[in-house]
Subunit: 199 residues, 4 copies
Amino acid sequence: MGVTMDGTKQQRRGNTRQRIQDVALELFAEQGYEKTSLREIAEHLDVTKAALYYHFKTKEEIIVSLFEDLTQPIQDLIEWGRSQPHTLETKHEILRRYSQALVGAEPLFRFMQENQATVRELRIGDAFKDRMRDLRDIFIDPDAPLVEQVRCISAMFTLHAGMFVMQDVEGDSEKKHEAVLEVAMDLVTQAHQGARKEG
Amino acid sequence: MGVTMDGTKQQRRGNTRQRIQDVALELFAEQGYEKTSLREIAEHLDVTKAALYYHFKTKEEIIVSLFEDLTQPIQDLIEWGRSQPHTLETKHEILRRYSQALVGAEPLFRFMQENQATVRELRIGDAFKDRMRDLRDIFIDPDAPLVEQVRCISAMFTLHAGMFVMQDVEGDSEKKHEAVLEVAMDLVTQAHQGARKEG
Amino acid sequence: MGVTMDGTKQQRRGNTRQRIQDVALELFAEQGYEKTSLREIAEHLDVTKAALYYHFKTKEEIIVSLFEDLTQPIQDLIEWGRSQPHTLETKHEILRRYSQALVGAEPLFRFMQENQATVRELRIGDAFKDRMRDLRDIFIDPDAPLVEQVRCISAMFTLHAGMFVMQDVEGDSEKKHEAVLEVAMDLVTQAHQGARKEG
Amino acid sequence: MGVTMDGTKQQRRGNTRQRIQDVALELFAEQGYEKTSLREIAEHLDVTKAALYYHFKTKEEIIVSLFEDLTQPIQDLIEWGRSQPHTLETKHEILRRYSQALVGAEPLFRFMQENQATVRELRIGDAFKDRMRDLRDIFIDPDAPLVEQVRCISAMFTLHAGMFVMQDVEGDSEKKHEAVLEVAMDLVTQAHQGARKEG
DNA sequence: CATGAATGAGAGTTCATTCAT
DNA sequence: CATGAATGAACTCTCATTCAT
């Protein structure tokens, strides 16, 4: 992600920085942001705490960087969505792409979902909220009946739920993803039809 | 127990334990468990930190007590659900009751949802997980097609989403609740019919 | 020990006070003075901490009372010793009596020996030191050669050691006491003879 | 390692760990382990409490480190003693060496003797007990008559007593040491002869 | 690039003690 | 005689952060 062809200098340079990000995300996702200390991250990497400060000015900046790096695909998705007509087909395509984006940034999203209270107070809190609202705005028609709006929200949450709750439902991982996506698609379709009838 | 007719002093003195719980829940829900210090709770109540320790042995015990006190309705619901036949009507009734239970314990549930990473490490983590699994087990038929199982899970998550995300959707609070419940009911109905067709 | 024939009122009255002393001494001896909290003592007795304060003004007063009650025999011994001629036979008799006094107040002495640093800062510290010096003064002749003085001190310490270190030497308890006393007596005898020769 | 020729700054900066140990031992020996707080130690060194934690993970680790560093000579003595024949001459040599080892680690031993109750609960408690038992085992013949065993124990305790009690006996420090050692040697000699007669 | 050493602030927790009831 | 409720001071320990080297 953001890795250019040329690697020599970047690898040397970017290596530690990236390793910090990797370890930090893993620990943040596992234990939460507050309970993960810089000491712990440093120990996992076999460097000193002070070394972290060479690469990131504060603890907060570590997860800010993670957020920015890993949610780029969703940012792209939103931009793309904005330029599309608000048809059912568009919404289906958004769901498909969003589903994939989630898979790509799973640990971050798990972290964000499980540490909402913390995230809210961090600098990324607003960015995240904005992003979610943007996504909602290209996904939900504010003039549609309330029930149909709920169906759309439900569709998105179904995708989220798919990431975490589904883990302890038995079955092939691939098949579960498909099932989740199918339910979400159905919900949007129903929302679309429901809105039609009203209008 | 030294209870005088007049209530003013009683209120100040007699129910500190409850007041601790109230303030703690409020702050936990707002800022998260880790970021809420006992000093802060004590200051809100105008007592010393040590006073908290007269009523609760540890910080953790405060939220444990909240959890136990406030999730009793859901415990009851699960017990009731177990004794019912696994019909569609039962599931609808469960959704209705669960929806109400959520409203009653909203701050706690908001807290649990927004501090999952923290909760997981606390003593209530397992209790919560167990409770959720029990609920799922009386709600989902493991022999049904995967898609229909997902629909059921989605129904429950729709209720959860209803509590938080819906807050910034415009509309009358009462009506939103109804809409959320309707979507959830629909999902379960569809799941039921889908399962029929297969079998 | 200070218990009169009549017991009714004294027992009621003295009962709790004495029970506090008993439990306190046991815990002090086992864990040390600092590590034993009043909460712990109260819990062992199934009363509240505040109850302890009815019987003793402070924590320190508890061990002061123990000290005063239990070292009376030694106080008596010292007084008796003072009125006797400084003969070898007197010293032997002192050893015999001291040995017995130690047995009677074993837990207290164990406590005093194992918490010297603490005791020193307590009010009993000086009292104890005084008592020990008094004992030494009737036991040691300051004009005797240094080696003989050491022998006398060694005799007394042999009795002390007998209480604690001997516990994990195998053998009948009674016999061990006798052996300890014998060694101590020997040391004093030698000291006496050594002093003679010099003089 | 950044060691400059000049020593002044080095002394301030470079050997904080050692300075902590020195001050800690001094205070522990004077006031006891429990009554000595890390704040106090830090203040004596003119650093913050947190600085102590850079050098030692816990308060306990401070005295563990002291114990390990300062009892090495005794450890060596035990090892040496094990390889020697159990003759009287060996025992005399052990006493001589032990006497010297005690002088070298006087504050630590004073601490251990005056804080036995505390030490027992610390990690060094067992290590100390083991060490003492090992010493006893190379010093005492378990088949000897009880009285002779007591004489040996008494000899060792005489050395211990020599460290503390003798402080307030008047006389030249050097001479006192010699007198103490002489009494201890005598006791062992007598024990040896006593055992002979029996066997 | 990275370390060693340190700090200031604050956390949760425990303690001896007090006092109205 | 004893309790319930509370306090103030202290404790051990952890954290994010800084900076000279």
